[in-house]
Symmetry: C3
């Protein structure tokens, strides 16, 4: 179902989000693949699936079995159905084993999960690596459960198969790559699931629409943690060699704030470009530190992997109340403006990365700008402009050691103004790029 | 005309300035050479002229023709003479081509330059690299011009010849050099022209009067921009190899303030010595940054040239209202005290550079100061002096990595006290110099 | 006389201090050796004496003669005995030559030392390297001296012999050493003498009681200045090669405050461990800088020696009024709690040095903590603990470049919590040590 056949705007980002909303995703299984297929019709057309067999060792991990669910519910002693997976896929603990039995209320309680402090929210619970079954329920409903025997039914399967991630490579002028990673393994939650792949697919559409691009771009849509570990395991040397910058895209759909979580290194091109954009292009943002991490940057920046991956978010996972509950919905948390703002800020950062370069003068001493009509004919105080001053200031920093981000910071001016001036200087052969 | 045959003081600095005042200087021509000849009778006796032919390529620049003026004026429709070059050489736009014609007021306006915001000031205007003619006039006078035909007369010549700069080398104990650069290309303006070469010539007199000097000194008196470019072009490798410090001397004649503009690098010996002196020897000063540059440091510190040249000024060019107008006069802006203060601060900085060194202890562990009578015979609390403490403190930092400027900063004491103590320690063979 | 046959506590530290109190110590002679013998019965059992002959050259110094005193006093014209060495050994200037003569009051005054600003205190005065005699007296008593002839008697000897220091080596698992230096050359003063060796001997007892220790420990008990110079001279290359950390132990017996004086380098392991401990384990402390030094760190950190020696004190020498006078007594200045606090803080620092290490992950990407029961089985927001978060945070910094002190600082948590976690991680082979 192709919904993004038009320009990229808040409306069609939201429409794509709505399309992905009802699907029951997990780190494996049909829901993940169905969701990925929708994305492949809306920006990720050339994406390839990469599978890893259940039981494979990847670094310290073992790829789990493939999980699928047809149905799941609990029938109350009074005959009513509660925790119906068909109503809300959060009701079922992820990776629950198949069950068909009757249990007393007290035994059932051992398999129920609720949040006393958010009594109307169904929590999101998974158990990928430990066989069990369970249901998630609002605490209000849990407290109203009556004594008696409950019929528990879970029609799920756990079978050998493959864990998949999607990978899209968009070649650029150089082999150096920018990596965009997002995840697709959570069921029906809006900010902390759907916003990430929706914005990432829009970024892919935008990248492909550019007349040219300096860097190659690699997009991956993974099941969180185990998926990024598989991806890193498959490509470690190449990633370390080619990746100049990259971002984990998650929680980019609400309007509340912008957030930045630096890479572990903290001073990579990704960090510098992101901080420049956030300092200059949004009104305010929350800067987190490495201790606040929680998504796939944990793998990308782990010791020995050390990729330059930072995270740009709106309300960060864990930092908004609806996080990991049934309250994280389209409309309530994620909006058209929120999604489009998330797209815009990352696009701005990628634009900075694309234009960034290390210019170096081709002459010793200042060049004679006047003979190139870049300097006023007559010299009188007050008669030469900010534009001329900017050209001279930029030239004075073009020693090959400063990139445009540095120069814009030093001169306290816009990087786009610096970029325009650099293009003028290059057109007169006054600078070259190293 | 030798005016500085006495000690260096405000009076004879001012007298030399008065001698230079009326001459019509430009980047080439007789005025520059006449002015230089006066300086060569007053401190720069051994100076040599270095010429570059018109039309020569120097880096990105082409040396212009030589410009001379015999007369220039405008005759008003009512017969009165205005913009008379004989009255004030600022009236004529620098490098104006010869003209002898009648023009209407409206055509004349295209050739007039004035400053509406400083209506009683004649601005300073030049057009070295674009052939044109023009007159500078106070805005008040311009507004009173009556309609009618104006007779314009400029008796100037633009001919092949040489652009000159003066260069004086004063050898020292080592081949390492300190470079003092000043410029001499502006007509009758006081702070932003005459103060620089006057103070520089006094510095040369002072340097030559020293019984010994560690460094060799190279003074250059150049036409601004094109002259320093010629000088750098003639000596690039030697300058890069030998220059340990240096200063551009400009705008050093008023009493309003002191100003410091660091080198592009910002942490050279020049910067460190200058900041130490300014922090300790004057009441207050304005610290500018590299963006505020505007004189020959633009060439000396350009990428790939990278000489350690900082600028010490009183009121910085561009930062005082009389700058580049007929209001920048002796008396009004430049004073005896102003010139002498400019001389003193740069002398202080050069003194620091001369005494600066990296001492290193000759013993392991503390030396026994007592046997050298540098320590009290009996040890009782309170009975050893600041002098003893200073000797011990200095010794503890003489590891070869700290120069006197560092040590004075660390110990928060005077560099001259450190220097005296270092001499005592060296006389006892307790330190050597690396 | 063995007084420390029990656990280390304030009582037996104080008892040992009382035992050392009355002995007349100097940089040579019987008092030093008697004191050292007492210490060798109370912690320093395996200590060896190292002697250097009088007249030997050590670096810039010459070892002085050996000084011993049997008696010394002054008999007043009225027949009373004043400045009786038997009453207080501070009355005699250290290294006074033998005298038996009568002098007038005015001549006597040339040989008297008192402190007008502390009129009831006998000052501590020495003259090791200049032959003279003298007496120290309270200023109150000095002002009451009557005219007449005074009988001066000093039964001292200055003879060839050896200057000694004690050295104790406690081997550890590695050849890398921690150096603990203290001095024992002052007569009856409490904080600035006895506290140092008493606490050092307790530290030796504690070190020996450890079931294992990573580092070897070298304790030296020296006469201040000349003793540490002899020790360094005897062992320079070995000390430079093996010493990873060390402390000068002095003035560690009062309750007023804690003090820290960094090494000259300022960022050695000693400095980092000490600052961590002081920042976290005491309520407040005074941080001094290298200019405030005054004990054997002057030798250990001198240029070219450059050992990583910092100083941990309670009230620093020179910084409390009783310093270097008869008022620096047990009870008045030094207390049981004071001594025990001094012992505790240095023990804490040595514990940090012992546990400190540079852990490095053995896996790429995060390890799967769940399969090791280090991570909750089910993932639900809020259900994983600070302990799990700490394990993950530590792992993310185990790149081999961070030691535990760094990691504890980054994570703003206790180094002991980090150490416990690191042990858990190591027991699961998730980290190794580099």
């Amino acid at each position: 179902m192709k919904v993004m056949n038009k320009e990229i705007n808040g409306e069609n980002l939201f429409e794509l989000a709505q399309t992905l909303w009802p699907i029951n995703r997990s780190i494996t299984g049909e829901g993940f693949l169905t969701s990925l297929k929708i994305l492949m019709e809306n920006g990720f057309e050339e994406m390839k699936l990469v599978g890893t067999d259940s039981g494979s060792k990847v670094f310290d991990w073992t790829v789990p079995l493939v999980w699928n669910v047809r149905d799941a519910y609990i029938r109350s002693p009074d005959g009513s159905v509660i925790c119906n997976f068909q109503d809300n896929n959060l009701h079922l603990v992820g990776y629950s084993i198949p069950v068909n039995c009757k249990v007393s209320l007290s035994e059932l309680q051992n398999h129920l999960y609720s949040l006393p402090e958010q009594p109307n929210a169904i929590p999101y619970v998974t158990s990928y690596y430990e066989e069990l079954w369970g249901f998630c329920i609002s605490h209000d409903q849990r407290e109203k459960l009556i004594p008696g025997d409950y019929e528990v039914f879970i029609d799920s399967t756990l079978e050998s198969g493959s864990l998949f991630y999607g990978e899209l490579f968009i070649p650029g002028e150089t082999e150096e790559e920018v990596l965009i990673s997002t995840y697709l393994c959570h069921p029906s939650m809006a900010n902390n699931e759907i916003s990430g792949p929706v914005v990432a697919s829009a970024l892919a559409r935008w990248i492909k629409s550019l007349p040219s691009r300096k860097y190659s771009y690699r997009f991956v849509v993974v099941p969180e943690t185990i998926g990024s570990i598989c991806f890193i395991s498959n490509n470690l040397e190449s990633l370390k060699k080619k990746t100049v910058a990259g971002f984990n895209v998650s929680c980019v759909g609400d309007e509340r704030t912008y957030s930045f979580l630096p890479s572990r290194n903290g001073n990579t091109l990704s960090d510098r470009a992101a901080e420049y954009a956030l300092d200059n292009f949004v009104e305010a943002y929350q800067k987190y530190d490495w201790r606040d991490r929680g998504s796939d940057e944990r793998q990308y920046c782990s010791p020995g992997v050390d990729l330059p991956i930072a995270s740009i978010m709106r309300s960060k996972y864990g930092a908004y109340p609806e996080y990991h509950t049934s309250l994280d919905t389209l409309g309530n948390v994620v909006t058209k403006e929120g999604l489009y703002g998330g797209f815009q800020i990352i696009r701005s950062i990628l634009e900075i990365i694309e234009i960034n370069c290390n210019p170096k003068v081709t002459n010793l001493c200042e060049p004679q700008l006047g003979k190139r009509n870049l300097y006023p004919k007559t010299s009188m105080k007050g008669n030469y402009s900010k534009e001329v001053k900017l050209l001279q200031d930029i030239l004075s920093w073009c020693d090959g050691s400063n990139d445009l981000i540095n120069i814009a910071r030093i001169l306290e001016t816009s990087i786009h103004a610096v970029n325009s001036a650099v293009k003028v200087l290059a057109s007169h052969d006054l600078i070259e790029f190293c």
